[in-house]
């Protein structure tokens, strides 16, 4: 008992003696537990959160949305007969891409939306209201809309807020009646579900494609692609262009991928901190043993066993790591709800859960155990020192080795020479310091590279999206000569360039069951946002380029061939290039118009992409297009009801019907004649030129900006965090070196070396370590950054070499300054201490 108390007292004495180092270890352990606990808890439960959300809302797992023109009751039969799915809800919805929603403050956000009535919504899930206006307030609204949590969180809307949709240049003034929790249909990629009144649904019906939707729970084994193939086979329809699939699995993957990447980022930071703590503990124990060698000798001479003395050192770290872990655990409990809000924001869902105390406790216990284990291994060194050796201060202070950098050959600056001598003397510490700086530096390089990438704004990301994003995308009606139209548009003021392409088409690549988006241009050299990571763009009719993700996943390279199945055709194409692609499912293929026409002989170019000059506004351009070519079919349809004159009204209604037939049913040409008394009112659809005008640029901005902002926060936060860790490591090492070399420093001072000289020597002595570590960190950081983008997003995004070099230089300067300042303790070393020895 007495011995135990003595051991405890010795530990407490050491803690009191080295308060700053103990505080640093407490801090690092705290951060480790806090980050690791929070990240592990959230990663492990991320998918469960999704399950809980679907359970709470009672949402179906799948929506199979077929355009009305291709829907067959056969599709429902297949589900029932082939998959044994009996509970199938059938309802209609409207779907629109890239619709601007304007808030009361004028801020415009673009979304993909699907519109449903409450009746349809209740058939697919429980319509769980999170917040809403009072019943009487709702009933007084002309155009109420219920928004899902995704729109609520990203747009910051509250019940009662204006929610104006801009469709075809016209405002539709909805008001948010309430917010509902939503399972499926709450995703920026697949679109958000809006619940509108039946009257508004009818109003919007003419503006958007209507889909017949089958909603059901498919279970684990249900393969939507196989189902669609079966539907296509039996109906002889090409469904891929005319249907949407929304599934829990796909939304889960889409929503959790970003979260998991950010959580991984937090775990990397936690790992660095943990490594730094372990290194510091090892370094400190070594120094303590060296410092207290004679004291250890005395204790051994008094009869203490080396095991008992070791225990005093271990106990010291159990106390510090334990304190840090407890505080870190509390921090994790506090941080966890904030992390939930963050994850919820990314997922567009509101998470209701308490911190996972058991996991946080387990993390804290694991960190304490690991720290104790490392301390145990290091403290066992005491066994090497029996009393006599301990009295003689071990063998560490005895030098019999080679004289490195003899001063007889010293350069001009004695401080530099002595610093390098010191560097070569402390190689073991240098290796440890170097490893810590490499780890922290790698994270720093990653952070600064990320910051550099995102500081370029949305334009930078668009550059790696692997799809062309022009200022305006005009989809033409069948029969319109896209090339002639493009030439006419080119002559518009403010238009810089036009490109002709094909609206989204889908083909199948043999050997891979994923649906494949095809990007087609006459000449890819004319595109501005599609870049090669390898090879060249496809030119001939037997050539194709593939996405980087497809190249990696399917082990396909330049020179290999793929077989593409089109409408009744099967063509083998040679891969000429690899294109990084962030958009869609990252499995695009790219081919020239010549090659595409080989695969789909009846295809006709129907889309013109317009590039505006700097400073030209999209709205102004759209106005001038509308003035010349008339409104799009969609716009005409919505104006039908407004005409006053009976003839005009009849023409408008005819236009509306034609527009609906053209936009929703793919009808290419219509003539009509109506006889009223002796009057014949006739017309034809040739007056329509434009099916739709939209801008992917705005949508891309909306989808990317939140991620961009979060990434920036993480990068800047990460850089600050790493700097604090590096500063803590170096400060402690410098302080501990000053303590260890107190006598030596006193002697140097007696010879006339000033504190500044000695501080400089200490700071210079770590330069070789930090320079080497920064160089290695730049290489590792570059690799980590490239891998992050490749694995996470399927694109080749190399770190900017200049940024890496600048970061490395800044890191080295930072390390020098921190060490120099931390070595300020040298000022406290007095020569008079020598006489008191």
């Amino acid at each position: 008992m007495v011995i135990r108390m003595k051991i405890l007292r010795l530990s407490l004495f050491n803690l009191r003696k080295n308060k700053r180092e103990a505080a640093a270890i407490v801090f690092l352990t705290l951060v480790t537990v806090m980050l690791l606990g929070t990240a592990l808890t959230n990663i492990l439960s991320m998918n469960r959160v999704f399950d809980e959300c679907f359970r709470a809302t009672g949402s179906c797992e799948y929506y199979m949305e077929f355009k009305e023109k291709v829907y067959r009751s056969l599709y429902r039969d297949i589900l029932e007969e082939e998959y044994g799915i009996k509970e199938i809800e059938k309802f209609n919805l409207l779907f629109g891409l890239n619709i601007n929603a304007v808030r009361g403050d004028g801020e415009k956000i673009a979304y993909h939306f699907s519109f449903m009535t409450e009746e349809a919504e209740r058939r697919t899930e429980d319509f769980v209201i999170l917040k809403n206006l009072a019943e009487d307030e709702i009933s007084s609204l002309a155009h109420p809309v219920w928004i899902p949590t995704g729109v609520y969180l990203s747009g910051g809307y509250e019940p009662g807020d204006a929610f104006t949709l801009v469709i075809g240049g016209r405002d539709y003034p909805f008001v948010v009646a309430g917010v509902f929790e939503c399972g499926l249909g709450n995703n920026s990629g697949y679109g958000y579900k809006l619940i509108v009144s039946e009257r508004d649904y009818e109003l919007l019906h003419g503006l958007f494609d209507e889909y017949t939707c089958l909603a059901f729970d498919g279970g684990e084994d249900f393969d939507p692609d196989a189902y669609v193939e079966m539907c296509e086979e039996r109906s002889s329809e090409n469904l891929k262009s005319d249907m949407n699939i929304a599934s829990k699995r796909a939304e889960e993957g889409n929503e959790t991928s970003y979260c998991q990447l950010f959580m991984c980022f937090a775990m990397i930071m936690a790992g660095i901190t943990m490594a730094a703590s372990v290194f510091l503990i090892r370094h400190k124990i070594s120094n303590d043993i060296e410092d207290q060698m004679q004291q250890i000798g005395v204790l051994e001479a008094l009869g203490y066993r080396s095991r008992e003395i070791s225990l005093s050192y271990i106990l010291e770290y159990v106390i510090t790591a334990g304190t840090g872990s407890i505080l870190g655990g509390v921090g994790a409990c506090v941080l966890s709800p904030a992390m939930d809000s963050f994850i919820g924001g990314l997922m567009g869902r509101i998470l209701h859960r308490a911190p996972d105390y058991a996991k946080i406790l387990a993390t804290a216990a694991a960190v304490v155990a690991l720290t104790t284990l490392f301390a145990l291994f290091k403290a066992r060194e005491i066994r090497k020192y029996p009393p006599v050796i301990a009295f003689r201060k071990g063998i560490r202070t005895h030098h019999f080795g080679r004289n490195i950098l003899p001063l007889a050959k010293a350069g001009k600056n004695i401080n530099v020479t002595l610093a390098f001598k010191s560097f070569f003397r402390n190689m073991r510490t240098n290796v440890g310091t170097g490893l810590c700086v490499v780890l922290a530096g790698t994270a720093l390089m990653f952070s600064t590279s990320g910051w550099d990438f995102f500081r370029g704004g949305t334009g930078t990301i668009i550059g790696v999206m692997g799809m062309e994003i022009a200022d305006e995308r005009i989809i033409l009606l069948d029969g319109v000569d896209a090339y002639a139209f493009a030439d006419e548009i080119k002559s518009f003021p403010g238009v810089r360039k036009t490109l002709v392409t094909y609206n989204w088409e889908y083909l199948t690549v043999e050997g891979n069951d994923r649906s494949t988006d095809v990007v087609v241009y006459d000449d890819f050299d004319e595109t501005e946002n599609i870049f090669l990571s390898e090879g060249r763009f496809p030119v001939e009719d037997n050539e194709v380029a593939i996405s980087l993700r497809r190249s990696k996943d399917c082990d396909l390279h330049v020179g290999d061939s793929i077989t593409v199945e089109g409408k009744g055709t099967r063509k083998s194409l040679i891969i000429t290039g690899i294109i990084p692609e962030l958009a869609n499912n990252k499995y695009n293929i790219y081919m020239s118009a010549k090659a595409y026409l080989r695969c789909v002989p009846d295809a006709r170019p129907d889309t013109v992409e317009v590039y505006l000059e700097d400073g030209v506004e999209r709205a102004g351009f759209e106005r001038s297009v509308t003035e010349k070519y008339g409104a799009s079919a969609k716009d005409r349809a919505e104006k039908a009801a407004e005409a006053d004159d009976p003839e005009q009204r009849i023409r408008a209604i005819a236009d509306e019907k034609m527009a609906t037939m053209i936009t929703n049913y793919g009808v290419s040409e219509i003539d009509y004649s109506i006889v009223i008394g002796d009057k014949v009112i006739s017309g034809r659809s040739s007056g329509f030129v434009i099916r739709e005008m939209n801008s992917y640029l705005e949508l891309a901005k909306v989808q990317i900006e939140p991620i961009e902002k979060l990434f920036m926060v993480f990068c800047i936060g990460g850089a600050i965090f790493v700097s604090v860790v590096v500063a803590a490591i170096l400060a402690i090492i410098a302080a501990s070196n000053v303590r260890r070399q107190r006598k030596e420093l006193g002697i140097m001072k007696s010879m006339g070396y000033s504190s500044k000289d000695l501080m400089k020597q200490l700071a210079i002595s770590i330069l070789p370590v930090t320079v080497t570590a920064a160089a290695i960190a730049a290489v590792f950081g570059s690799w980590l950054y490239k891998s992050f983008w490749l694995v996470g997003f399927g694109i080749a995004n190399d770190a900017n070499v200049a940024v890496l070099v600048i970061t490395a230089i800044v890191l080295v300067i930072f390390c020098y300054i921190v060490t120099y300042l931390a070595a300020g303790k040298i000022r406290q070393v007095s020569v008079t201490e020598l006489m008191t020895e």
Binding site: T397, H398, H399, F400, N403, P406, L407, A408, A410, G411, K412, I414, T417, L418, K421, R425, K743, E744, G746, I747, M748, K749, S750, M751, G752, Y753, S754, S755, K756, D757, R827, S830, V831, T832, L834, M835, E837
Partner: protein, 253 residues
Amino acid sequence: MASSILRTEKLCKSFSNGGLQQHVIKNLDLEILEGDFTIIMGASGSGKSTLLYALSGMDKPSMGKVFFADKEIQDLSNDELAVFRRGNCGFVFQSIYLLENQTILDNVLTGALIVQKNSPELVKKAQELLKKVGLSEEMWNKFPNQLSGGEAQRAGIVRAVINDPKILFADEPTGQLNSASGKDVLDIFTEIHKNGQSIVMVTHDLKTALRGTRVLFLRDGSVAGEYRMDPYDGNGSKSRRSGLQSFLDEMGW
């Protein structure tokens, strides 16, 4: 008459010990003359080493003034004092205090290179001085722990004089040496003094004190008495010894 190299006015040095002020040196007026071999003696706790460190600028006095060649040094900052020391003072310690991780030659050069630029002449000078104190070439690249105490102290003396200091301070330089080694070290000091080096040495050993030209006896932080001798030349040691012994007896030593 020799000029003053070091002078104090009302020099005081006190330490705080558990809240109590302990006055070690009290209002001391003292003058050290150029070329003198000054010995400071006194009982344990009389303030010998404290005075030595205050005179040399290693420590700041609590009050009073210290003039080094008419320049006040008591108000200099620590870094300014370091610069002052490197150009003017050399130190020899009782515990030797060689840098344990540097060779003997490097120990000497570490002291030299902070003042002088590296040159073959400087290295040669260090080597010659080491030879002169009896450290042969094979010892130059040895580490301090590979030398005897006497050898190490000789290296310490070379390190102290390599920059030709205006004054050499020594704090009981033979305190940890056996008598043979001690005598060798004292012979070196005598030799250096003969060459015109001013020396201030603290000791409580009579044999060591005999090498000086002026003995100051410290009691309770003040100079209680002073005794002058001719420079030591190894002759007439008996009369020299009895004269000093009488002075010390008178001082109550």
